[in-house]
């Protein structure tokens, strides 16, 4: 226990040292109970969602479980351009991260569990208003990744469970921007890069319960290198320049970072739980956004945009009370540094230090069926001058996510 405490101190030290800034295009909506409690829950197994949060913890649940949930995200970005003192808004569509879990115990008392987790831990769709000042940097970006994770977990001792899963990630990328060449009507060219990507990784976790009241979880979700092959790049340009912007295939790579989480759950009585997760996200893998076109011309060169993300920490704290037997009320919050360094803030992920609050509610309709809902709210503000585009101003992002899940256990 003391050691862990020291470990936490060390982590804090690491934060201060790095002047770290939250979370890039990571999406943390994979379970309604955890969402209600500040997105924490690595050490607090609950239902099938533990297959994702900590496979090792799933063996501490004496149940078979099927869970389905969805969390519509309403995100709005406002960019205030400092030089022109004018602002522009995003009109992004509602994001719909979802999760589905199926967990089965093969031995009595749940010593061995198998399961399947399907969810969307990374993704982002951002679209900016027409003719905005950053149109030549980005007009729309859609990133989608669905993680499919078959999982095994085993309780190796009374107090220790381990688990792991293999991750297959299937994704889509669609990036659009205007090209600064005008035809005789003054209409600008446009570029659209679209492709499918696939990547592989794993998710392992260990769950330890030193006492009835305390649980500790440690998990590692590996990075997933999403490789984009045979993407399609299409361009519109003035007719005299069409041969400079040929339709071509392209390849690219988008690394999704590893996530290491140390989590605690304190459970002094059956009606009260406190959870704390400390996340380390290995964003450093995202150093460049590169596109390699099959056909190059003097106007269409391979691009390498520096992103220079850095590893970050995030802290998540939450609690749950059960005023009555069937009802759970949850509240939580978190603080995450930003992986985006000064000089590298882009319209695709105008990220900054992220402070958020959540609350949630769960209700057991019967022994077998329960409903959980959550609300998440954050406001992120980030001022920067991008070194590549020289866009200079302040991004203010507000995201409201309201989630609902239904689970069935037996």
């Amino acid at each position: 226990m003391k050691r862990i405490y020291l470990g936490a101190l060390f982590l804090l030290h690491f934060v201060c040292d790095n002047h770290g800034f939250s979370q890039g295009f990571q999406v943390n909506f994979q379970g309604q109970r955890q969402q209600g409690m500040g997105l924490a829950g690595v050490a607090a197994p609950f239902d099938g969602s533990s297959l994702f949060f900590n496979p090792g913890s799933s063996v501490f649940l004496n149940q078979n479980s099927i869970v389905g949930g969805v969390t519509p995200v309403f995100g709005n970005v406002l960019f205030l351009d400092s030089a022109t003192n004018a602002s522009y808004r995003s009109n992004s569509p509602v994001g719909t991260p979802f999760s589905f879990y199926a967990m089965f115990q093969l031995k009595p008392a749940g010593k061995l569990k198998v399961g399947l987790s399907v969810n969307t831990p990374f993704g982002s769709t951002v679209q900016y208003e027409d003719n905005w000042i950053g149109r030549f940097a980005l007009t729309r970006l859609e990133l989608k990744a669905i993680f499919i994770q078959p999982t095994f977990a085993y309780r190796i001792a009374d107090h220790i469970g381990i688990g792991g899963g293999f991750v297959i990630s299937s994704g889509n990328v669609n990036l659009q921007k205007d090209i600064p060449v005008q035809d005789t009507n003054g209409v600008y060219g446009h570029a659209e890069l679209a492709g499918k990507a696939i990547g592989f990784g794993y998710n392992i976790g260990i769950h330890f319960t030193p006492s009835k009241q305390l649980s500790i979880g440690l998990t590692y979700r590996s990075k997933v290198a999403m490789n984009l092959r045979d993407g399609e790049a299409t361009f519109t340009a003035p007719s005299s320049l069409e041969d400079k912007f040929p339709a071509t295939s392209f390849t690219g790579r988008l690394p999704l970072p590893s996530v290491t989480t140390l989590g605690f759950s304190y459970h002094p009585c059956s009606a009260f739980t406190v959870v704390l997760d400390i996340n380390r996200v290995g964003w450093k893998v995202y150093d460049t956004l590169a596109f390699d076109y099959a056909t190059n011309t003097s106007s269409l060169l391979d691009t390498k945009s520096p992103r220079m993300y850095k590893n970050i920490l995030a802290f998540r704290l939450g609690m749950e009370v059960k005023p009555i037997k069937n009802l759970a009320l949850r509240i939580g919050g978190g603080y995450g540094f930003s992986p985006v360094q000064s000089g590298y803030v882009t319209p695709e992920t105008p990220d900054g230090i992220r402070i958020y609050g959540t609350f949630g509610v769960g209700y057991e309709l019967s022994q077998k069926i329960r409903v959980d809902a959550s609300v998440y709210y954050t406001k992120i503000k980030r001022s920067d001058t991008n070194l590549e585009t020289n866009m200079s101003g302040t991004y203010t992002t507000i995201a409201l996510a309201t989630g609902l899940s239904i689970s069935y256990k037996w």
């Binding site: 205030l80 003192n85 005008q182 009802l327 992002t397 507000i398 409201l400």
Partner: protein
């Protein structure tokens, strides 16, 4: 069970209420745009073709509306400047230059080798001449833009400048001058300055003059149109003409932003054709070696310096160009491509600026800028360092994700004449003026969004 359900309902209600309280869209909190120490009751932009919106080698309505003067005033309007009144040409797009040619557009052109490529071509057979012979003057709406294509610093007080009967007359000015229709011989033609001060003094001015005191000389390859001397009375010397103008403004308590003069030799008109662009195969190199060998010049396969006339170069007055020397865009390109112009036949002096000529021009610009800075400081005017802007453009920079450079046609900031800026370039230049105003007069006038203004149109 009934009790439980009502508690659940209450909780849901409280949650929903909470959601409606927090806003989902960030609020727009713009900074206040403030005037600072300037008075914008009557703004006037004073300058040459850049201020007027001369671009693509012509003055035309669309260019005027996207001129340095107009864009500057559009931004000043955010802190209270009045309506923009321009001596508008009749046609949006035809325009005319002083040789009655229409504006340039990017079009397809077949060169002497039969190659078809994009090139600046005239938009129409003839310029919009009618606008040069009809007055744009209106006594009700005083022009807020006294940009006159070709206006030199030393022309500000010239009473011949608008006199249609004299050789010094400038048709672009004549059409906007108050007395365009004075009878020949009546003698009383107002100068540009008198026109500006007519009907009440302005309260704030932008002044961007001096390019035309040098440019015609440079454009002639330093063969004619001598540069304005620094010394001399107002109307003759640059310095006295400047101080006379500044003094007048100061005495009327008029505040101003004054632009320094850029190094015009960094404009695409002078930098597009490389001095060593003579590409030779073995056969051509050998034949040139035969011709020039006796003079001591040799040619190699690949890139070579063009040959130019230079009276100071030995007995034959011919030599290869050296690095740093410039070929003007006025050079007959087809002759260079197909008729050995620049190799067997050396380029004439009028198409070339030699090191010595460039030195002379740049020294003059330095001298002008020195007095511009000196007197602007003396009178407390804001100084817009346009020279830095043009130098940055020459090196290239990225503006909100768009690369801007002084590359001819594709650079994005210069119009197709390679000298005057296009609307986007004018907006970027206007921002230099605004930055200077904000700094000196403690105002917070927002800069223009240059991407809102057009660049070169491609067919």
């Amino acid at each position: 069970m009934v009790k439980y359900t009502s508690f659940f309902k209450k909780t849901v209600f409280v949650c929903l209420f909470g959601i409606t309280l927090i806003s989902c869209k960030p609020k727009e909190k713009l900074l206040p745009n403030t005037l600072g120490e300037i008075n914008l009751q009557q703004f006037v932009a004073i300058g040459d073709g850049n201020t007027a919106g001369y671009m693509d080698d012509a003055l035309y309505l669309y260019g005027q509306q996207n001129s340095l003067g107009a864009i500057l005033q559009t931004q000043l309007q955010l802190v209270g400047a009045g309506e923009i009144y321009l001596p508008l040409m009749g046609s949006a797009n035809i325009g005319t230059n002083s040789s009655f040619l229409s504006k340039l557009i990017l079009g397809w052109k077949t060169d002497c080798l039969g190659g078809i490529g994009l090139s600046p071509v005239r938009f129409a057979q003839q310029g919009e001449v009618a606008s040069l012979t009809s007055s744009a003057y209106s006594p009700q709406n005083k022009f807020t833009n006294f940009g006159v294509p070709g206006l030199r610093m030393i022309d500000m007080v010239s009473t011949a400048f608008g006199n249609i009967n004299l050789p010094q007359h400038n048709a672009f000015f004549a059409r906007m001058s108050k007395d365009q229709f004075n009878l020949p011989g009546s003698g009383n033609y107002l100068s540009v300055q008198e026109n500006i001060f007519d009907g009440g003094y302005p309260t704030f001015c932008s002044i961007y003059l001096g390019i035309e005191d040098v440019l015609p000389y440079a454009r002639s390859g330093a063969t004619q149109n001598p540069m304005s001397p620094l010394a001399g009375f107002p109307g003759v010397g640059f310095e006295e003409s400047l101080t006379q103008l500044c003094g007048q403004l100061y005495s009327q308590n008029i505040k101003a932003v004054v632009g320094t003069i850029p190094d015009i030799t960094k404009m695409p008109y002078f930098t597009t054709i490389p001095y060593n662009g003579l590409n030779l195969d073995a056969e051509k190199a050998a034949s040139l070696n035969q011709i020039y060998g006796p003079l001591g010049f040799s040619f190699t396969v690949g890139s070579n310096s063009f040959m130019i006339e230079d009276p100071t170069a030995g007995a034959f007055g011919v030599r290869p160009m050296v690095e740093g020397e410039l070929i003007l865009l006025s050079v007959p390109l087809d002759s260079m491509k197909c008729h050995q112009y620049g190799s067997v036949y050396p380029l004439r002096d009028e198409f070339v600026l030699t090191i010595a000529e460039l030195q002379e021009i740049r020294n003059q610009l330095l001298a002008y800028n020195q007095v511009i800075r000196q007197y602007s400081n003396f009178y407390g005017f804001a100084i817009a360092e346009t020279a830095d802007f043009y130098a940055n453009l020459y090196d290239g920079f990225v503006y909100n994700g768009v690369t801007m450079s002084s590359k001819f046609v594709s650079g994005g900031a210069y119009s197709l004449d390679g000298i005057h800026l296009n609307p986007r370039g004018n907006a970027l230049l206007a921002n230099i003026f605004i930055t200077a105003i904000n700094k000196t007069y403690k105002s917070t006038i927002p800069l223009a969004n240059a991407l809102f203004y057009s660049s070169t149109y491609f067919p």
